[in-house]
Amino acid sequence: MRVSTAQQYQQAISQMLDQQTQIQKTQIQLSSGQRLLKPSDDPTATRQLLSLEQSQSALQQFSTNLGLAEGRLSQTESILGDTGDLLQRVRELTVQANSGTQSDEGRKAIAVEIESVGEQLLALANSRDQSGNYLFAGFRSDGAPFSITPSGTEYLGDDGQRSVQIAADVSVLTHDSGSRVFMNILGANGSFVTNYPDANTGSLLIGETSSAGEILTETLSVEFTQATESDPVLYEVFDSGGASVSTGEYAENMVLEIDGQSLTLSGTPADGDSFEIAPPIPQDVFSRISDIATMLREPVTGATGSTQLSNDLARALESLDQASTHLSGYRSELGSRLQMLDTQSQVNQDFALFITEQVSSISDLDTTEAISRLNLQLVGLQAAQQAYVKVQGLSLFNYI
């Protein structure tokens, strides 16, 4: 076939230009370390890369969220720990005050200390997180949730609970409402309370109480009768309608069982003495403590007064225990949330590592391959240049 001289030159030049383009591409790949220089280099990989980068960015955010959640939950847990310690202190003081050797003055001193513990507790419940928001205010985190007013404890927050996202489909609660944590805890043993009237003259002590778990829904009354000094003491239990439910002879340390609720009775009730077994009243932690202080501030007169105080304090102790149980239940819930954060953090890290590997395998350049490709391309270009120079020198005109 004939070859056109002009075409021959043109072709040689355009091939060299092509080779230079290839070399330049390899050079940029090598200097940037990236295999993909533009989306069209590998459209499928680019699409994958976009999804992976989105996951990566989301994971980074989740890890930030997780860190903050961990901080807040740890803070809440530590506050709960302190709260437990304070309640324990109140319990000790109450037990101390319930001793027969205490004078009015001694009890008053204890009351002062209990009140100051109550204030510490209030301060804890009004704690703020690192952003300055109140931890236990629900959605109203810009104001202190608890305040003590003459009429009792006032909760100014709401029941909102705040959660954050820590993985694509996983959220964790970081802020619980104060009402859930510190309020609405049923009094005494959580199933019923006893009311021991001032008018009683005997020395009946209502000791340990327990319940099969049912919350009492009606108010029962227990009345004691003793015909003469030598007769046995009889008790009779009436329901809220005044109908007799059960009756029997009173004995020291007897266990009275009604409707699955049981009470241990001791001491000597006088004829006409009575007490009520009533449904528990939901109450907050702070009122419980201030109630104890109020009881202790009252001067005690005589044996009946002492019996009265003992009975009240016994119920108050049960209420304190009830609050402690409630708070430690919440604390263990916090613990399991923190546990979950740990697990999720591990899962997120593994996932992040996996994504990083994927991104790298898609977009990173295989340097070895690229360098050997570059060498090959350089050899190709050199050969083309040499061939060009040699062929160019060949012309019949040189010999004419």
Partner: protein, 629 residues
């Protein structure tokens, strides 16, 4: 002797002419469009002398160009194909590169925007988080605008290239027509073909093929007819038609091509060449990318605005629009004479899709022509179509037309509407407060306003549980406050449906349990922020098939795929063109070695002929001498 002189001089003349033809070949070795010329020598008829014929010398019979019209036609086709794929690729690779540039990447900005909602969720009343969110939203909007502007710039450039291409087409058409007329007159007067004129015309046609695909028909008189596209005549003998560019009927920002002085558009008929490539890249790559981007912006802003309207801002008010509303419209034809306008607003986000329909009015009814399926339906306004609410205003005149291309210019008004960080609605709408004396463990775990209009509540709503609220044994709630009602309690699902709100409970109710429903205390409420953040992951666009970030990914991969495809097309077309050029050059191109050899051959022949004249002279002198003696 006279014979010998004649033979010698004829040879001298013929060889001199042949040498100048070869010399001309050498001189034009690098001239574009030049076809090698071949001189053909022919023996002259001799004289009968006695019983023998004696040769009469030689004559240059013809000088013809080496040209194969079939190879020429194939070269034109390949030239058009290569030019088309090249101009497509050159534009596509720039759009592709624009998307690769992380400084312009929208994916990253969208991720930051949604992450900023997450961060706000961590501290819903945080001033810093709110300000960051607004800044991230600005950045995202700017990325949308800059990408959209980048695409517009490329469209404008494509349009300018089309305009200058059309000028060039007109110039070439004129010169082909002129060459046709010269060739006709040269062919009729001379014997041999006017080689140089033919070469010039072939070059002009080849340059035309570079611009747009052509078909060429030879006429008996030596002229050619040239048509473009699907038989649109450009040059007919010595006449030619002018093309012109004008604004698209529905898209004043785009140019289209038509015959000068005639209203029809022939853009869609043109194929091949630079112009074909430019029209294709505009139609197949730039416009779809621009519209996808517009659709994404429309979907995103509607989703965010809707969600913003579901929550409370830091002032306790329902959130207003986060993004300003986009300018979506059905574009009126420039030919319309009525005052009608069709306004467009997004109605159902998930149904938004890329549409291409034309509405036309016949004086009494509106019909809708779907460009993709080719179907026509009669419609009435207002109309909900593909997630858009279309409404008509003004008076239409028969013949008026509108093209629904809602996302073409959507980005131009895409902006962040709120400036005060406090107006970001991070909080949910309602909150509950359980009664302090509640005995049961019942709690309200979720509450939602089904009629968001009631938020913020004018007063609190108080609920009290009663086992016999709706008659003996039918539990329910007595409701007072902003809503007064007695509603049944669905004990199985633990829900109540309270006129404008729905409440979800947990735990068992106890007689007398009470709840208070209030507007959310916004400072610590992040529910709406989390709902916003989850928009990025939800498949809530294009019929619920793709998330906003996914849609952007699809757009990038569409562009990348088309670019990759056009790159491969271009490689193939270049290889084919090279092959075609080589074939054509092997027939028409000048090989200098060949010409050198021919030159030497002719030179020697010339010298021999000159020697022949000397011999004749010698013979004559000998004769004269013999006579003179």
């Amino acid at each position: 002797m006279a014979d010998l002189f004649n033979v010698g001089t004829s040879a001298l003349l013929a060889f001199k002419q042949a040498i100048s033809t070869t010399g001309n070949n050498i001189a034009n070795a690098s001239t574009e469009g030049y076809s090698r010329q071949i001189s053909t020598l022919e023996s002259r008829v001799g004289q009968l002398s006695g019983e023998n014929y004696f040769g009469g010398g030689v004559t240059l019979q013809s000088v013809e160009r080496a040209y194969d019209q079939f190879l020429g036609a194939s070269l034109r086709t390949q030239t058009s194909a290569e030019a088309s794929s090249d101009s497509f690729y050159q534009i596509a690779v720039r759009v592709d590169g624009m998307l690769a540039d992380s400084g312009q990447g929208i994916d990253e900005a969208m991720n930051s925007f949604f992450n900023a909602w997450q961060s706000l969720g961590n501290n819903p009343s945080g001033r810093a988080e709110r300000t960051t969110l607004l800044a991230d939203a600005e950045t995202m909007v700017n990325r949308f605008s800059s990408l959209s502007e980048g695409l517009s710039d490329i469209t404008n450039e494509v349009d300018l290239r089309i305009e200058s291409g059309i000028e060039e087409v007109n110039r070439l058409a004129e010169s082909i027509a002129q060459l046709n007329s010269k060739i006709i007159s040269a062919s009729s007067s001379g014997v041999g073909g006017p080689n140089i004129l033919l070469d010039q015309r072939d070059l002009a046609i080849s340059n035309l093929a570079q611009l747009v695909g052509v078909s060429v028909t030879e006429q008996g008189d030596g002229s050619v007819n040239v048509s473009v596209g699907k038989g649109q005549a450009l040059v007919v003998g010595q006449e030619f038609n002018q093309l012109e560019t004008r604004r698209d009927e529905f898209r004043p920002d785009l140019v289209e091509i038509g015959y000068a002085g005639s209203s029809g558009a022939i853009s869609s008929l043109l194929d091949g060449g630079q112009l074909g490539g430019l029209l294709d890249v505009r139609e197949q790559l730039i416009e779809p990318a621009r519209q996808q981007l517009g659709l994404l912006a429309a979907g995103l802003s509607t989703l965010v605005n809707d969600q913003q309207g579901q929550g409370l801002d830091l002032n306790g008010q329902l959130g207003g629009d986060f993004f300003s509303s986009l300018s979506l419209s059905a574009i009126a034809s420039s030919q319309n004479s009525g005052s009608a306008e069709i306004s467009v607003a997004p109605a159902t986000v998930a149904d938004l899709t890329l549409s291409a329909v034309v509405f036309s009015y016949d004086g009494s009814d509106w019909s809708m022509f779907d460009e993709n399926t080719g179907t026509t339906n009669t419609v009435t306004f207002p109309l909900e179509y593909e997630g858009l609410e279309l409404s008509l205003s003004g008076a239409a005149v028969a013949g008026d037309r509108f093209r629904l291309e809602p996302y073409a210019n959507a980005i131009s008004t895409f902006d962040v509407a709120i400036t005060d960080p406090d107006q970001i609605a991070a909080a949910g709408s309602l909150a509950a407060i359980g009664g302090a004396q509640n005995l049961g463990g019942m709690q309200i775990i979720d509450l939602e306003a089904t009629n968001i209009g009631i938020v913020p509540l004018s007063a609190s709503v108080d609920l009290t549980y009663d086992e016999n609220a709706l008659g003996a044994g039918i539990p329910g709630f007595f409701v007072t406050g902003a809503i007064t009602a007695t509603v049944a309690y669905d004990a199985i699902n633990q829900t109540i449906n309270l006129v404008d709100m729905e409440l979800q409970f947990s735990g068992e109710p106890v007689q007398g349990d009470s709840f208070e429903i209030v507007s959310s205390g916004v400072s610590g409420d992040n529910r709406n922020a989390l709902a916003m953040a989850s928009l990025s992951q939800g498949a809530n666009l294009l019929g619920g098939s793709v998330s906003p970030t996914g849609l952007y990914g699809d757009m990038v991969s569409d562009v990348a795929n088309l670019t990759r495809q056009s790159e491969l097309n271009h490689e193939t077309a270049s290889a084919m063109l090279l092959q075609s050029q080589t074939s054509q050059a092997s027939v028409s191109g000048v090989n200098l070695d060949e010409e050198a050899a021919r030159l030497v051959q002719l030179q020697q022949a010339y010298q021999a002929a000159a020697q022949m004249v000397t011999v004749a002279d010698d013979l004559f002198q000998s004769l004269l001498n013999a006579i003179a003696r």
